[in-house]
Symmetry: D2
Subunit: 137 residues, 4 copies
């Protein structure tokens, strides 16, 4: 990923900590891919009928992480209230998906890898939220 | 759109009002397309340098409406806390984008059409939120 | 959908037939939603283990239709070779998904509705391709 | 990115070379982010009116790379004809976007970084296509 290099043009105008934004974008794209892949691997498991909630949460988390990573990548005339609201939905998606994947991690290695990606994304979202000055909320 | 026909299999298990969900999904897809198109039309205007905020809000609103319409379309083992959190981000995106488009509506017809689509989506999101029982929040 | 109103600003520069583009964009968004919804309804069926291929094709068709509808909505300085290449991938996605859904249409009404949406999108893509002048290929 | 770990469950059934698929998915997600970010940085440039084609190609390339990375991440009951058709559209998107970004690379560092990401994605797509056995085409 070349997130840091791409955000350089905006470095002077940033309301948020550059490193926190970079890390959050990277985590969102990683988590989007992991969740897309985990939904697919769950679908291929013999006990797919026990993985329905996991698949739905994976697909929803992937969609939300993609949107979040995308809007965080846009910093020209951006609105931080909007970004923080979307990041907040992303935190919930990652928590729910990470918890569900963890339940199946003992039997399915892909669920463990995905749960870890969800945790990293959740943490990156929360760290970003903490760095945005109150005035912007 | 065939949203209503597609949601029939889930009609018995619904925590939310079926018509409110159908309407919200339709409005999200309509708004996603309108915002994508409005960003593009703004980009082609002679005064594009005055439309930077409009373009960014359009692109963000499109991404958020797509994600929201997509996750509302998934009702198997869904989680309403997650859906409501994403719908809440969608309300903010539609408000900001609708307000900005309205400012340019006098000069650009595409901004008027897009502002109207944003309003419809915002209202559909708020009506859906109002129908979901408190216990699900 | 307000596709036609949104494309008006571009009406003078069009290499393709405006109505064919409008129809194709509408069909792409409709099909994207129907496929997302059908994947979800299949996931909720008791015989989900027989619907694996249907779910994968639905999710892939949804992603491809979303991308296709989105890039067709952008007409400022667009490149028709790129658009036609993506439309061509969309035709294949709709054919495969429509065929697979049709196999299950007897047992699952959502598969019938989705198969019909895939057919409409496939036809709209092929009609659009036929209207773009050879010089643009 | 955890692409390799996520694809392990499918390693025995692969028609394509695992490393080529992993590399292509990583390149698609990287390029999607870079193009989203480059469109935004271009929009913020003083000479935005000269960057219209660059912005449109960036946004289209981002949408196509996202769809391509997503469908390559799904390997349960997948269809390689569909994947190759989408990968082929992705090659064209990356070529056009990379060429256009390269024209502006002298003045805009973000265009250079994005042009490089487009080249890597184009190459990864072509290498993947070369590894898929003829029978699957």
């Amino acid at each position: 990923m070349v997130v840091r290099e791409m955000l350089q043009p905006h470095r002077h105008h940033f309301q948020a900590d550059l490193e926190a934004v970079v890390r959050c974008i990277e985590a969102c794209y990683e988590c989007a891919q992991a969740c897309t892949s985990c939904a697919d691997a769950c679908l291929g498991e013999p006990n797919v009928e026990n993985l329905r909630r996991c698949i739905t949460l994976n697909l929803n988390c992937a969609a939300i992480c993609e949107a979040t990573g995308q809007i965080l990548s846009r910093q020209t005339e951006t609105d931080w209230n909007l970004l923080l609201s979307q990041v907040s939905a992303c935190v919930i998606a990652c928590q729910l998906c990470g918890d569900e994947c963890q339940k199946h991690a003992h039997h399915h290695q892909h669920c463990q890898v995905c749960a870890d990606a969800c945790r990293r994304c959740e943490e990156a979202c929360q760290r970003l939220t903490a760095t945005v000055p109150t005035v912007a909320h």
